[in-house]
């Protein structure tokens, strides 16, 4: 679960998010390929970025931190957790809060994608090199 949480935030931050926030070239009329700019171009959709994306991009990062801690404590204490109620309470608090944070990120991810789908680039450029 911790590994999946890291995979989700790292792929979201370094693969999907750059597509979402790509700036359109000056004079671009059709913003369909530029989700952030598309949302901000209309007052009716701008809040999806200003609240939804701004919250989602940060709150999602609380999840892997909390779940990694929970995994560490669960492995480190194993059966001892049954005799350490304070540790269990903290784990419950962090795991429940992180599930809530994941829910926020998931909800806004889905709604943002409905209003301005991220299609990704047609060209995947791994390294930016100079002209030969």
């Amino acid at each position: 679960m911790a590994a999946l949480a890291w995979l989700a935030v790292l792929s979201g931050t370094y693969i999907i998010y750059p597509w979402y926030r790509a700036a359109p070239p000056a004079g671009t009329a059709n913003l369909a390929a530029y989700p952030r700019s598309l949302l901000l171009s209309h007052p009716a959709t701008s809040q999806w970025h200003l609240i939804g994306m701004e919250w989602k991009e940060h709150v999602a990062w609380l999840v892997p931190i909390a779940i990694t801690m929970a995994a560490f404590v669960a492995i480190r204490y194993a059966r001892d957790l049954g005799r350490q109620p304070q540790l269990r309470y903290a784990l419950h608090g962090f795991v429940i809060t992180s599930l809530f944070a994941a829910g926020i990120a998931g909800f806004f991810g889905a709604m943002l994608d409905k209003n301005a789908p991220v299609d990704g680039g047609n060209i995947i450029q791994v390294v930016q090199g100079g002209k030969q």
């Binding site: 931050t13 926030r21 609380l62 304070q86």
Partner: protein, 115 residues
């Protein structure tokens, strides 16, 4: 009629809670840094530029990298200090959960914008 009872002593030693407390408090600190660095970058153009260590991702790359570094360093230091000790876990839990709650609230833009 006699009753025979066998009492098995639980000789398994309880692991000191310090290691768990270190992980819990460090997670609270790391979470708060996610929120604080996001707010700071929003308020300061120079910090925003400084945090943009991966241009396509922008300031989010630096904000989260800083949070991960602070989290791991805090965890390592607390682990070294507390791993063989029992620490007042209730107080540490309260502090860590308050930090986590503050992080959750202050990542919400209308609240983050108040700072």
């Amino acid at each position: 009629m006699s009753t025979h009872a066998t009492i098995v002593a639980d000789t398994h030693a309880i692991v000191p809670n310090g290691s768990g407390a270190a992980a819990i408090l460090a997670a609270g600190i790391g979470s708060l840094v996610v929120a604080v660095s996001g707010i700071a970058a929003d308020k300061s153009p120079s910090l925003k530029s400084l945090f943009s260590i991966h241009k396509p991702t922008g300031a989010l790359s630096g904000e989260t990298t800083l949070a991960i570094l602070v989290w791991l360093v805090a965890w390592a230091i607390l682990e070294v200090l507390w791993r063989k000790r029992n620490v007042p876990l209730l107080r540490i839990n309260v502090i860590a959960l308050v930090l986590l709650g503050l992080s959750l609230l202050s990542t919400f833009p209308p609240i983050g914008d108040l700072f």
